[in-house]
């Protein structure tokens, strides 16, 4: 099962390498990728698939959010707060 992540990244030394390296290092295959020029930044679309069932797409997203000069545009950081399942019995 694959998922597609859209990211806007700065045009800086190593920025693309940093992103791809992170995705692979955190245990995901890259099945497809496209890159487009947006002036000072670049738009990257990556189709990723976990290497095994233990790989969590949400965690990959949060790891990407930590990259300096990279912003997920498919699922903004703020939206992630609602992903946490807060369980408090009444």
């Amino acid at each position: 099962m694959s998922d597609t992540i859209h990211i806007q990244i700065d045009r800086a030394d190593g920025s693309l390498q940093r992103l791809i390296g992170l995705v692979e290092r955190r245990g995901f295959h890259i099945d497809g990728m496209s890159l487009s020029d947006e002036g000072q930044t670049r738009r990257v679309q990556i189709k990723v698939r976990g290497r095994d069932a233990g790989r969590c797409m949400e965690n990959l997203g949060r790891q990407i959010d930590k990259l300096v000069g990279a912003t997920r545009v498919s699922r903004p950081v703020a939206a992630f707060a609602s992903d946490y399942r807060t369980e408090v019995a009444a």
């Binding site: 030394d13 190593g14 290092r25 930590k66 300096v68 000069g69 369980e87 019995a89």
Partner: protein
């Protein structure tokens, strides 16, 4: 912010080189000490260093510079700085950078590189250090314009210390170091203190009130966030028992009521049993490292999880979290007030268990008993004690047996487990806290990995004390071979070690030997009283093991106790 404004408002200045701008920016940021080693591609920076207020410590290997900067940062809470030339200088920093990454230590690493025109041509001493270090830095830059130097350095410091800290790398090509500019600009430091999530705090408090067996699982983040006092106050007002990771030792005083010890592979029985029985783990700046959890699927099987962390990616990474509290740990802990709790039966049982299984130091025999020696070392040194550990059995003995009254007292390569950390780390810590009793505790394997830094101690008269526990072997590997590889001892014998007393003396360092138990107390007193650097070479039994031990891949309840001398009644 202020820095950027200062630059904008400054009158036009005479042209300056990138190297000079680097030095003046470091000075302006309040950097006191830089650990480094010169070479061809960073010579303009070293040229600019002369006459600077920065104190440069010339190490004898770049790895020593990185480890020393790391320990400086851990001991001061400020950003550590190291620098090296291109190629081999830069690659020699790598283990130190990885170490800082694994333990979230703020560090700025500055490397020279060949000129931009020849980058990518395999020029002499050219290495793509930005590419090489990508997985082990928080961020990195190649500066391509001298005017960018102040902004990049300011941003580098900001990123290194903000949020979850970590190492950053700034690569300065030689033409950028020598290039002149009269138009430097600063970096506007963003103010990004996130709002405290009151709802999450309230949810956490609700879970705590429902819990019958809550437990505080404290990680290195508490110290990093400056939340030590907040944590101690929380433990006090709630009475919830505390277990600590390796990197958090000292965050709660090791003699505090309710403190159960370190959890995990070499943790205490009381800590591991409490985790397995707990119905609510309150995780504070910890990351469920496998050395702490053992077999993850069987870790704290009855517990729900409240997780406080500044790094959202740590929440839910390995263990499902019921209530995440993302943000500044200090603010979060201070705000947490669940009110009176009816947990006395549980807390009392935990504390009783800790007392029952307290370590004992009355082992039979005449030989030096390392756990007892380390316990006495910490007690003799008192509140100003700082242990800078190497990696191996001695590291675990320090964690188990030393008394710590503050988190800065325990510097250890926790995540990376890098042998060779101890000596340069002790050096960095002693420079950071010159009045403290800083003691490097090393083993005969680890010590040889950065032994060259004895020359640095001598050169600067750094009064670091060294306890070298010598079992003539790679003890922890030997222990695992004994227990898990059918006593097939492979490449662990170091019985042809040099005479470490003579080696130290050859470097101009005072040194003496302790080889019997009745010499230990006087030896420690002599070591701590020595006015300059001093090494105490201690011969210990090569067959001594670290107990208790959770075998790798097992759950924390399956502790092995190979030697009853190490624990009380079981």
């Amino acid at each position: 912010m202020t820095v950027a404004t200062a630059f904008k408002d400054a009158p036009a200045t005479a042209p300056q080189s990138g190297a000079r701008l680097l030095v003046s920016t470091l000075e302006r940021l309040g950097v006191e000490v830089v650990f480094g080693y010169p070479g061809g591609a960073i010579m303009p920076v070293y040229d600019a260093l002369t006459g600077s207020s920065l104190k440069h410590i010339l190490v004898r290997h770049e790895q020593g510079a990185a480890f020393a900067a790391d320990a400086w940062a851990r001991a001061t809470g400020k950003v550590g700085v190291c620098m090296a030339t291109s190629g081999p200088g830069a690659t020699n920093l790598i283990t130190g950078i990885a170490n800082a990454m694994m333990d979230s230590v703020p560090m700025v690493c500055i490397t020279g590189n060949v000129s931009t025109a020849v980058m990518g041509t395999d020029a002499f001493q050219e290495i793509d250090i930005l590419g090489v270090t990508l997985p082990i830095v928080k961020h990195s830059w190649i500066v391509r314009n001298p005017a960018d130097v102040p902004a990049v350095i300011e941003e580098a410091f900001h990123i290194a210390r903000s949020g979850r800290p970590g190492p950053v790398l700034v690569d300065l090509p030689k033409d950028v170091q020598v290039g002149m500019t009269s138009d430097p600009f600063g970096f506007p430091i963003p103010n990004t203190v996130p709002e405290l999530d009151r709802t999450a705090i309230a949810n956490a408090e609700a879970l705590i009130r429902q819990s019958e067996r809550p437990l505080l699982y404290v990680g290195g983040g508490v110290k990093i966030a400056g939340a030590t006092e907040a944590l101690r106050a929380l433990a006090e007002r709630t009475g919830i028992p505390v277990v600590s990771t390796l990197n958090a030792l000292g965050s709660v005083r090791t003699d505090a009521h309710g403190y159960l010890g370190m959890l995990g592979m070499h943790g205490t029985r009381a800590a591991n049993e409490a985790v397995q029985e707990s119905d609510l783990l309150i995780v504070l700046g910890a990351r469920f490292d496998d050395r702490a959890t053992g077999k993850l699927a069987e870790f704290a099987p009855l517990a729900r999880v409240v997780h406080f962390d500044v790094d959202p990616a740590e929440v839910g990474k390995l263990r499902r979290t019921h209530v995440p509290v993302i943000g500044d740990l200090k603010a979060g802990i201070e705000a947490l007030n669940p009110g009176p709790l009816a947990i006395q039966p549980w807390a009392g049982r935990c504390i009783e268990n800790a007392a029952t299984h307290a370590y004992r130091y009355d082992a039979p025999g005449e030989g030096v008993y390392a756990p007892a020696l380390l316990n006495e070392l910490s007690l003799q040194a008192g509140d100003s004690f700082i242990a800078a550990c190497d990696v191996g059995q001695h590291q675990m003995w320090v964690a188990q047996h030393c008394a710590f009254t503050r988190p800065e007292a325990h510097l250890t390569s926790g995540g990376l487990g890098a042998m060779g950390y101890g000596l340069p780390a002790g050096m960095g810590a002693k420079l950071a806290q010159p009045d403290a009793h800083v003691v490097t505790v090393s083993g005969d394997g680890s010590f040889m990995m950065n032994i060259q830094e004895l020359a640095t101690l001598r050169r600067y008269g750094i009064a670091l004390k060294i306890v070298l526990l010598d079992n003539s072997s790679l003890g922890l590997v030997r222990q695992w071979q004994e227990l898990f590889f059918e006593q097939n001892y492979s490449e662990v014998d170091l019985s042809d070690n040099p005479d470490f007393v003579v080696v130290a003396q050859a470097f101009g360092i005072e040194a003496f030997r302790v080889d019997a138990r009745d010499q230990v107390s006087d030896g420690i007193a002599r070591l701590l009283a020595a006015p300059g650097p001093c090494l105490m070479h201690v011969l210990i039994d090569p067959k001594e093991n670290v107990w208790p031990l959770v075998p790798p891949g097992k759950n924390n309840a399956e502790m092995m106790h190979g030697d009853s001398r190490f624990e009380g009644d079981m």
